[in-house]
Subunit: 189 residues, 2 copies
Amino acid sequence: MPHPPRISSDAIVAAARPLLEEHGVEGLSMRELARRLDVRAPSLYFHVEGRDDLIRLLTTRGVRELGVMLTVANRAGAGPGDRLHAMADAYANFAFASPQLFSLIFGPCPDERRAEDEAAAAAAEPLLAAVAELVPEDDVLDIAQAFWSLVHGYTTLALSDQFRMGGDPRRAIHRAVDYLMAGIGLGRD
Amino acid sequence: MPHPPRISSDAIVAAARPLLEEHGVEGLSMRELARRLDVRAPSLYFHVEGRDDLIRLLTTRGVRELGVMLTVANRAGAGPGDRLHAMADAYANFAFASPQLFSLIFGPCPDERRAEDEAAAAAAEPLLAAVAELVPEDDVLDIAQAFWSLVHGYTTLALSDQFRMGGDPRRAIHRAVDYLMAGIGLGRD
DNA sequence: ACCTGAACACCGTTCAAGT
DNA sequence: ACCTGAACACCGTTCAAGT
């Protein structure tokens, strides 16, 4: 009887994640990963195609996870305005909990590790649903993009510590979202 | 007489930039850089402290350059509203012209290659100046952050191709900025 | 089928040796 | 002062060999 598998694609991806968060993408090495899984590096190649493939799997998993968090947040809110705030919080929470994965998802990446579009669409859906209840159909896409941009930008800039002074970023982001909602002709509900 | 210098810190940073844009941070290698400068890799260490230092120099230079573009755009606009739009364009232009450098500036980075705060402050100044003419002093910081977030978010998401459908991103970003301006109680001037 | 050690072509960085 | 070749400790990946 040959060797029973000691590792799996899932186990590799699971072990890669803390390594990514601890040392960044550049520190995510196949050899260190193998060390943590107590196998030799070449064994990994029986379960993932290579480093680029592994990173692709990581980001795909990340997008899916973010999608779930947004969907849950969208369900939790009372009205559409509440739901937008809840989704903004979920977005920021994900980014602060997994900053390296977050920046991997939205950073520039070579074609070999580009994730499936399907997952990205799933993450965008709850936002589109919430906005669709607020504005006429023709404006949904534009306004959803504006909201996403605002929340994404605030999250990214806070993450890279561009907003120096203290205070809860959550409160500031809610205020920014309220400004935008007022701009499209809607008060807080 | 000893060797006259064949390279300089400036020449290294200048050569590093196209290499960065062609191959990304991970492809920015000291040995390839040395090849392009027609010296051996160890020579580089007489002019920069190491790879992290080089990347720090690159991002510092990038922030300064972005600051200049924003300052110029700020001077070009007729009224504060115009200036905000011009600065949004400048921001997006920089990002699309130098996507890797842009993502290096705002991505997560280890302490060793963190740039000076001074340069970041210089880049933020023109925005604060434009906003200061539009709203009461107490709101300037909050609203400037909201604008920056919106523009940064839109730029980043467009750059990572999250907004699928075609059309000029410039037009969409202007519309988003107008929404936000309306939200803080200001029409287009 | 899965794991391994050895090997190859890379990499950042250091250092003694040359001018 | 500046450049070099050699060396060290890494890295991703391949492959023949083992079970």
